[in-house]
Amino acid sequence: MAQASVTETRQSSWWHRNQQQLTPWLFLAPGILFFLFYVIFPIFQSFNLSLYEWDGLGQAEFVGLYNYEELYWDDAFYTSLKNNVIWLLLYLLAIPAGLFIALFLNQTVTGIRLYKSLFFFPFVISQVVVGLVFTWFYDPTFGILNVLLGAVGLPPLNVLGDENWVTVGIIVAGLWPQTAYCMILYLTGLNAVDPEQIEAGRLDGAKGWRMLWYIIVPQLRPATFIAFVVTIIGALRSFDLISIMTNGGPFGASRVLSFYMFEVALSEYGFRMGYGAAIAVVLFLIMLAFIAYFLWSMYKEEKAR
């Protein structure tokens, strides 16, 4: 009798002592397991796979760093890499564009909600639809773009068929929904802007650009950070638009790394899992640089608080 009660108290006291530390881990456990299994594990798997030559069916053959050497000589790889950089740079235009639309819409007029939802609309529809709409817009024979160019006396342009224009053309299509996304982030950010600071700024004689740059934008920092993160991620994932609008063409000029990886490893003509994995590793390293930066700046923010 006495013994039993001793074990009971010991048991309950162990749980009691560690409850505080254990509970969060218990709640996190499913998430951590899935994250390990679906994110961390595949990263190492692709590192490993990139050292093999494998067609996805037969025996995998160990080739060391041969796939990376092959990448070094591959023109298509450099085209994709260059396009990735262009995507990263031009896609950032969505942030200022979103900010200005948000400032423009941040007023009280009848029906402003309707206008806001219309501006937000492109983000709601599928990327595939955006791609198709822009493909028709750019169509060299029937598209409205060339009609407009003709109206102002410019020669027609086959945006998606010209290797110098094609990437820019696709990015413009991608900016349409991305701007809407940044806009909504800034609209919520603007709600949190402190009216007293604006008042104070006004008393000190700030208006127009100076007001925007010194009073408003600093207060929108959290929104800017999130907009930056989603835009960078969006630029690196730019797969669906390319697939829909050009399928990587003309002659591979609009490929980015993610699309090229898909093409060599998984598409109709792709049988090179190891090579695809090598591209994935390069893409991962680029992303890692950004992820490290994001984590670092979030860590700094937490500490400052």
Binding site: D55, G56, L57, G58, E70, W73, D75, Y138, D139, P140, T141, N158, L160, G161, T246, N247, G249, P250, F251, G252, E263, L266, S267, E268, Y269, G270, F271, R272
Partner: protein, 419 residues
């Protein structure tokens, strides 16, 4: 009451047994079929074919899955290894090689040993053979050639050309009339492969073409340069529609329908959409691709679609019966007629439907293609090479001046791929 129920159940069981005995020659068990025939007409045809097979074998439990044609090309890699059906559609020649080499397709040489198949399907036997064994059966094939607007030809006083000079002279007249000679959409690359197939087979012959695609001949050889020089003559004339790199093959059809372009080098599947777009059979006609180097035996592209039994299939005997049924003369006649697939039957005992394009195509392939029958650029060459090469062909069509760079690239790719 209870006994009555019992008796009726017993009677029913006996009846069922008797019925089973009556159809004792029918197959039993399961048959799982995966199809890539997702377009409306082929889909309906396949469903009808399977329904007929079901009628013959009422005891058989058939399960059919139709997968989107493009998606199928990537999914087949998964389902052949993980969740194999008993019958799967695919393509002949090199396109089936990866699966044959990986041991995922069943050797069906036993079916071909039967003269009913071996002799009657002799014309496609080569395309189904790898390492001296057959790995499937064909169920349809179709010709390629030049489909043209007869009314435009008549208006300009042109007749069907037979030589390269006539072809170019015709084309010049069409261009002078303010039209383009050929429509084409190279966004998905393979259409350019069709042009290269024909130009190379006519310039250098079938054997050289096959050597090139199987890696035995060089992309930097003089023969290949001659082919590109011929192609360039057309490009420099402005024979092809502008901006073809932005169009799929379907998007290139309206140019011909509207009369902006006079002809289309295509497979016979282009006829149906042209008819649907409102062109009558008086307006469209067909001619065989012209001779380029005199004296070279003409060879044709005739892509073959096939049925295979995956090596991991569970009901291989049922699958073999289905394959036999699908290639039998009667079935071949009706599934390939104008109301169904609108293509050519693979069985020599079948009859070709009363359709001017099918008749001309059948005639061309059976009597006027002494050089041989090719499958198609991306089915004869290994997939990886086909991709790189077709991209180069598209680039050449847009920027013919880049030819040296393109050929260097193909040469490097060839060295890597066929080692």
């Amino acid at each position: 009451m209870r006994s009555m129920l019992k008796t009726s159940v017993a009677a029913f069981v006996m009846l069922a047994a008797a019925m089973g005995a009556a159809s004792a020659d029918g197959l039993t068990g399961n048959l799982k079929i995966f199809l890539d025939t997702s377009n409306p007409a082929p889909r309906a045809t396949m469903e009808e074919l399977i329904a007929q097979f079901q009628e013959k074998n009422p005891e058989l439990n058939i399960e059919t899955t139709v997968i989107d044609r493009e998606a199928y090309k990537t999914q087949i890699r998964n389902f052949l290894t993980a969740n194999a059906p008993d019958v799967a559609t695919w393509y002949a020649a090199n396109r089936m090689r990866p699966y044959v080499e990986a041991g995922l397709f069943e050797d069906v040489s036993d079916l071909w040993a039967d003269p009913a198949i071996g002799d009657n399907l002799a014309s496609t036997k080569g395309a189904m053979t790898i390492d001296g064994k057959q790995w499937g059966v064909p169920y349809t094939y179709y010709q390629w050639g030049v489909y043209y607007r007869k009314d435009i030809f008549d208006e300009l006083g042109l007749s069907e050309p037979t030589t390269w000079e006539e072809e170019k002279a015709n084309c010049q007249k069409i261009i002078d009339a303010g039209k383009k000679c050929y429509t084409i959409g190279t966004k998905f690359l393979w259409t350019a492969g069709g042009w290269f197939d024909y130009l190379n087979m006519r310039t250098n012959g079938f054997d050289f073409h096959m050597d090139l695609l199987t890696g035995k001949a060089s992309w930097k050889s003089d023969e290949v340069r001659k082919t590109f020089a011929n192609w360039r003559e057309l490009i420099d004339m402005g024979a092809f529609i502008d901006n073809h790199q932005t169009y799929s093959w379907q998007e290139a059809l309206p140019f011909m329908v509207k009369g902006d372009a006079a002809a289309y080098l295509m497979g016979n599947f282009a006829v149906a959409p042209l008819r649907e777009a409102g062109l009558s059979d008086d307006q469209i006609d067909f001619y065989q691709f012209v001779e380029i180097t005199p004296g070279i035996a003409k060879a044709e592209d005739a892509p073959t679609d096939t049925f295979h039994i995956p090596a991991n299939a569970e009901n291989k005997e049922n699958a073999r019966e289905f394959l036999k049924f699908a290639v039998s003369p009667d079935v071949q006649t009706w599934i390939n007629d104008g109301k169904h697939l609108g293509q050519l039957p693979v069985n020599a005992k079948s009859s070709v439907d009363d359709d001017k394009f099918l008749e001309q195509g059948f005639e061309m392939l059976s009597t006027n293609s002494p050089g041989g029958v090719a499958q198609f650029f991306d089915r004869d060459a290994p997939a990886e090479m086909a991709k790189v090469a077709m991209e180069g062909l598209q680039e050449f069509m847009v920027k013919p001046d880049n030819l040296d760079k393109i050929l260097d690239r193909l040469d490097r790719a060839q060295e890597r791929i066929y080692k």
